[in-house]
Subunit: 652 residues, 3 copies
């Protein structure tokens, strides 16, 4: 299914009906509205003006569209900010209030805002909870975007103290857990705890971990209240979703954040995110992808969101042309709108909605393309969407969830927190490590499920890869024990206890159950200072993060320049104690896949594969046509053996 | 004429007479004093101590010098800051008050300061308005320097609200104009409007544009009050000027700022500004110019100031040796003080005054050279000034304004605001685009007038070049219509309405009258990722900013790699839809000049030409002698066919 | 002697006795404790809990260890911060209070904190001043670390005003001294003086110099009060020391700071400091040293601390493995713990204490190695310390101070202040200039004493090198006059008066007594834009800082590209007016050493020499063995002619 994001309040009412008809004609089924419209539905506290929204929904529904209704809590109006100034967050760098004038200007710890946001969400759900044209709900918008997870407000401080009291019970327990004896950091009461900002040097990592967990909990609590407010009034057939930003950038436990939803949606902006990702890449590396995006970045987020969604998921916002917010904003290469849409479906999406219907000529996003130009003519994306609409029919029913992949890639918020808090080496960044592992698997043509380590069952996966599992808790350990695939852990796994100490008996701590070794030292190196890594008689490189390991009974499968172990194998488990080059990762993964009976298809950097519903999708990111690795006698549903530039072929 | 900047208050009174005599002996006519002396002429409110200044003026005047008197409003003394703390501005990054201890510590929106500054200006004008030795006045000093145009003070906020009320009349009109329906940004009253700082993400560009216009108006209003205070008491023969910093760096409408002046002055520091401009240039590119400055940078500012001045203009401060404020401060190459002085005259200056008479051994500027060393001996600049004084006689009368150039380069504050506010691509910076176009013209040996788009008549120009004219208003449109030369617009022209929306019917909006096309998409690229541009069968490069254009009836004169139009010609108008390499610009300009019957002289990077009063000046920036492109039989007034290193030749 | 840093409060009491025994068994003599334990010895004001510390000291002493007791003033506990919030410093960038939660959260100008810190120091000294196991005291910990010298607090402002009143007597005298007539900066009273922060542009350098001197005085005063509080109660045989950070980074007058101590200690972290020092070095330059540290960096600090200590000195904290605070934290190369230990002894240390006994698994420093791993097993450093303990016996008694070196390198705080305050060229950094000169001498195999210019006698030095002596006062001048060695001054020497004006009669001001020349101009260049320097018929390079000199009667020994003088010789004095490449410095130093009859041994970059007690130590930083330049028949005490990778040879 296809959809679009629409802002009736931005356009004269006499344009609505024609817009709705054109949406239908284009082959769209869903239209999302409302998520920034608070100022237009409530003019002052309690003074609701739903009528225009009634008419908008009726117009859209009458035309045959299903409406996704966004609750407008991402943009509290000015009157609300003036009446309740304590809703505003405080910048953690400057200590200044972050004021009205853009969006997301609210503090997740403000009780006032929680109540107000619950009130408007409930009011909207009351009005439209049984509306026949409203298919479902989107909570808020892009939670945590613009670095809003953390706030240095008095509200956050007070809530954090309560959170600590609840978690630790007594201040002595907290002091013990955090190791506050160090540097005389012990507290006498919970009321003495400050936020971990504005100190002379770094605060206790356990303090920062607690604050990050707290902040995550605050966002989840806020979101859960919003979901509940909607569900309290919404019809049973109305679902609730949220459009998440790239999960690695929320700074919260995304599994918890999305748990209460019917499914998860994702806002897909491949070019801008790739421009940021590859900002320091040489031009020769970046230029081939500047109009397609990095070949694995959208896929990474698709697979992550599918994992969070536990089934079908949506692209709620699909970039339809140049955007406005990256340092550089190229136009997508011809065909890429279709390419990205089909890619989302291949990775399990049930619906792709484009953002936005018509480019708005005013305000912050006026340089963000739409399906229509500001002058109401179709933009270059239009015919591509027409093509996708036609091709959906050829692909058949895509409403069921994608099948399980052979490989599970485990990610977790804790590992990200560990990295953010303990920057032991500037060359180690958890998201980059995850991405390197993911890219290696994707370059081998393997389908991957990305799972939150603490949440998902690992049963049935033939290969389970954890690029880093820094702080595995009991729940994770149980899942690992219950798994039956090959296990592959990257460095820093098992590094920390739940309260940010070095693991009992040294890392990998509890993972020693699988990895019979001790990490007796860690060193970090400048990324440009790599060293040799010996594996299977070949030379690769090791760098950035290097652990010295004391091995009990395990096979040493790779070694450092000085002959000491760099990777070991014990039973079904492989542990690699260092970051490496891509070549080593691929070489090792090829062997593990062979062992796990997972078919591997080494691919050039501009070709990617993904399977769904018995079909294999091949995505060509090159400006040249390329032959796809389809078997003889493949039945092509879209395209053929030779896939056009930026094109897609699909076969059974 | 020549002059110098002098601070009698810095030196023992018994040195004054000798100083004055030496100034005369050196050939100087003017001496500027007083612009930082508030603390010495008013010891507490109303307690004036003019007597020393009386004596200083008498001493200078008696020696035959004409005095330029600076009003001291750039440095309110400590007693004033303590008595009226609301005069201090607020930093827009930190929210902190910017305090006493340097200079320019006042808020353009402070009513208190406006009154105090008017009071001291009037008092000074009353005392010296009929003084026979006082030839004229300089208002304040380097308005807007040190990023002082914008302030986040309560005074600025309150004044901005009033400004908005005046401009928009009703809050609904403002909401409509800004598109505040977006993100629920609508206000209920003008009292709700905050300054566009300290928000979560970017504010409405229309909001920021309004604030930039307001801030510009505040500076202009302040300056106009200062001018009026002087004129109210000054003799009719006393003129009023202001020493402007590089106009592109004021952040205000320079045409409005300077409108009330008799003429405009400029402070010329070629080395420091070039060090900043070329900070990221490779050493091989920078080293040839580190002691001369960029060959076109001083010229750009000279031509800009001449345009603002609408006739003769002054260099009020000419760098006489190394300065103290750039990241690196080389000494000028031998001869460059003379070179820059003659260059100013060639570009239309009536007077060049050196900053400063004697290097002061204390306080902030002790490492800034003077004509005299701190030990009272002549600095290396001294004999060069002696030479200039001699050569002035040979050049004849330079009091009349320079003749109109064949080419007009249009600049405007609005285009700079658009760029500052909407950073659609990191590779597009309006001042750099203007500079690239200017350099291309100068490298062809063509004289250029730089005009404020909204102010100057375009009649008589054979070629009118607007590197970007982002937001042309009715006044600009009228001038364009009334012009009769060839028109050449660069990309982003006509991009926005007056309230920062995308132009009606797509860009170039009103310019479609000249450019029969629509800009249907914009993309921005990393500067190191260029692509081919086809023009006249040759390959050039396009990058940074690229527009997709839909052409009505026009000739396509250049095209992108994919064959789509990149530059078009219609009637007398050329539109180039992308930023390009220098070679393309020069190639195109050579053709347009030929068509417009403008003589072109392609020059090496170290040679520049400029004509004035029937004379042609050739400036050699190389460390080697070079032959100048003088016609056979040229009558050399200074130098000859072979111009010495860093030298100047002048011929008729 | 060897020692270790230990935190009994971090470990269960039942581990203490075994720890103590193992320390003795390892060959350690000293154990430092207590310096962060305030929270554990005083639970609220006056509620002391010394008993655990009594037991810890008894346990250690009983095992045969001597205790060094640290006063815990670097970490005021939370109850104290709450009771006396005025003790907290204020950040000079943000204006925000720097709060509790890490360490060093106190303001040197807080009278409250001064009294509290004196109180706890006295209380501890009272309790342990006659304890037989307590050998001595360490004041505070790493004073000035984490940029704590400067604070923008009201306490600092008030104290600064009093300091100014005391120094200048009358406000007119201050105005005159600072040159406040410039920019109307004159004050009417001392109460008007603000801290030199948060202004529009730069403040008067004299103002900033006064503030830097004041801040230095505040730290010294604080420290002197601490020393006095200890001495008032400590036994006569108990000494007092302080563990200083790299002296160039304190921002205070280190000679004054350490004057009241019995000897000075240094915390030696070669890898982290080298990673920072060489952060921008190409990988090829950095990689050979990433596990050894820069070959001259630890030595520089050793020699500096020996100069401050006026005799024997200690390493109080020696890095025993990877640390946790640098951007990258490699493990030391095998043998480097021994290497660094022996290096400290060669440079005059009396004791080397390792930081820390056992790696602590919690809080901020959990990734900082110890002699023991967190699991209580020996870390890789352990056997190296065992080796050092054995070798100490072979080296004999090292308790007497190291002999005077033939070369004195003069450093001074004033030159550092001048550089910090007047950034005339981004390529001139005083610490880098000192380091370049030091490295040149060390690469010639020459022993160097580093002396505070204003404090130490220069008698007996055959060569006295001052890389820059920017602001020599009468005391320095007297010492220079009283010296009898060759003098060698680098550029910027004699640049400023004591109140930050250009020196009387131009630089080198008072040094003209030795350097018969005037610096008539200074230019600064981009570091990558060097020019030729002619010396002895060979070509070297000059750059970054270049002075034009007018020479009276002196020999010109090097000249710039244009033939003007770049270095001169007069009597026993050499003046080099520019920064140069290393090759020139070495070439000149070889000649000066020859003239001064100082033996020179040019060394490769990975080999360094140092003499002590009749022994020559050779340090190999290479991963290859190397032949040492020992004379025939040398008597090897450690190692031999061929020194192993990262090894040390010692001969008589």
């Amino acid at each position: 299914m296809l959809g679009v994001c629409y802002y009736p309040e931005h356009w004269p009412e006499n344009m609505w009906a024609r817009d709705a008809q054109r949406m239908r004609d284009l082959g769209l089924s869903y239209v999302r509205i409302g998520e920034f419209a608070w100022g237009r539905v409530e003019k002052s506290e309690g003074a609701f003006t739903w009528e225009w929204m009634d008419r908008a929904i009726d117009t859209l529904g009458t035309a045959g569209l299903k409406v996704v209704l966004g609750t407008p809590t991402a943009t509290p109006p000015k009157w609300l900010c003036e009446k309740y100034p304590d809703i505003l967050p405080v910048d953690i760098e400057t200590g200044l209030r972050r004021g009205f004038g853009s969006r997301r200007h609210y503090d997740f710890s403000s009780k006032t805002y929680l109540a107000q946001a619950e009130r408007i969400s409930a009011a909207m759900a009351q009005r439209y909870g049984s509306h026949p044209y409203v298919a479902g709900w989107q909570t808020d918008n892009e939670l945590c975007c613009h670095d809003t997870t953390l706030s240095a407000s008095p509200a956050a401080r007070d809530a954090f103290r309560l959170w600590c009291a609840k978690r630790y019970g007594t201040i002595d327990a907290l002091n013990d857990a955090w190791g506050n004896v160090f540097w005389s950091m012990e507290y006498d009461s919970f009321d003495q705890i400050d936020l971990p900002f504005f100190t002379v040097c770094e605060t206790n990592p356990a303090h920062r971990l607690a604050f990050r967990r707290f902040a995550s909990d605050q966002v989840v609590r806020f979101h859960d209240v919003m979901i509940a407010a909607i569900r309290a009034h919404a019809g049973k057939e109305q679902w609730v979703t949220h459009n998440i930003i790239p999960p690695a950038t929320t700074g919260v436990d995304n599994a918890a954040l999305t748990q209460g939803l019917d499914f998860v949606s994702y806002d897909n902006y491949p070019l801008g995110f790739s421009d940021q990702l590859m900002a320091k890449a040489p031009a020769a590396d970046w230029q081939p992808f500047m109009r397609t995006g990095h070949p694995d970045l959208a896929a990474l987020n698709f697979d992550t969101v599918r994992g969070l969604s536990k089934g079908a998921w949506w692209v709620m916002e699909q970039q339809p042309g140049p955007v406005n917010w990256a340092p550089h904003n190229p136009r997508p290469a011809p065909g890429m709108i279709r390419h990205w849409s089909l890619q989302a479906f291949a990775h399990g999406a049930a619906c792709v909605a484009y953002f936005r219907w018509r480019q708005v000529p005013f305000a912050q996003e006026q340089m963000h393309a739409g399906l229509l130009r500001p002058d109401d003519h179709p933009s270059p994306a239009w015919p591509e969407v027409e093509q996708v609409a036609r091709e959906m029919a050829q692909l058949g029913d895509l409403s069921e969830a994608a099948a399980k992949a052979p490989v599970a890639l485990l990610v977790d918020t804790a590992s990200a927190f560990v990295d953010d808090i303990e920057r032991q080496g500037a060359g180690y960044r958890y998201p980059a490590v995850v991405f390197q592992y993911y890219c290696a698997l994707r370059a081998l043509g393997v389908d991957v499920d990305i799972l939150s380590a603490g949440q998902a069952s690992l049963a049935g996966y033939r290969l389970i890869v954890a690029p880093t599992l820094a702080m595995p808790d009991d729940a994770v350990m149980q899942r690992l024990r219950a798994s039956d695939g090959l296990l592959f852990f990257g460095p820093r796994s098992g590094a920390k206890t739940q309260e940010f100490s070095i693991s009992e008996g040294l890392p990998p701590g509890p993972l020693r159950e699988f990895v019979p070794a001790k990490i007796i030292a860690v060193e970090t190196l400048r990324p440009d200072c790599t060293e040799l890594l010996n594996y299977q008689g070949e030379c690769f490189t090791s760098g950035r993060w290097r652990e010295t390991i004391e091995v009990d009974e395990a096979e040493i499968i790779a070694s450092y320049e000085d002959g000491s172990p760099a990777a070991i194998r014990s039973g079904r488990t492989t542990y690699v104690a260092t970051l490496t080059d891509d070549a080593f990762l691929k070489s090792l993964l090829v062997r593990l896949c062979a062992e796990a009976d997972i078919a591997v298809t080494p691919l050039p950097s501009t070709l990617r594969l993904r399977r769904r519903g018995g079909m294999t999708f091949a995505f060509n990111l090159a400006a040249e046509p390329v032959h796809v690795p389809a078997p003889d006698g493949a039945n092509f549903i879209l395209g053929g053996q030779l896939v056009e530039p930026f094109g897609v072929s699909v076969w059974r």
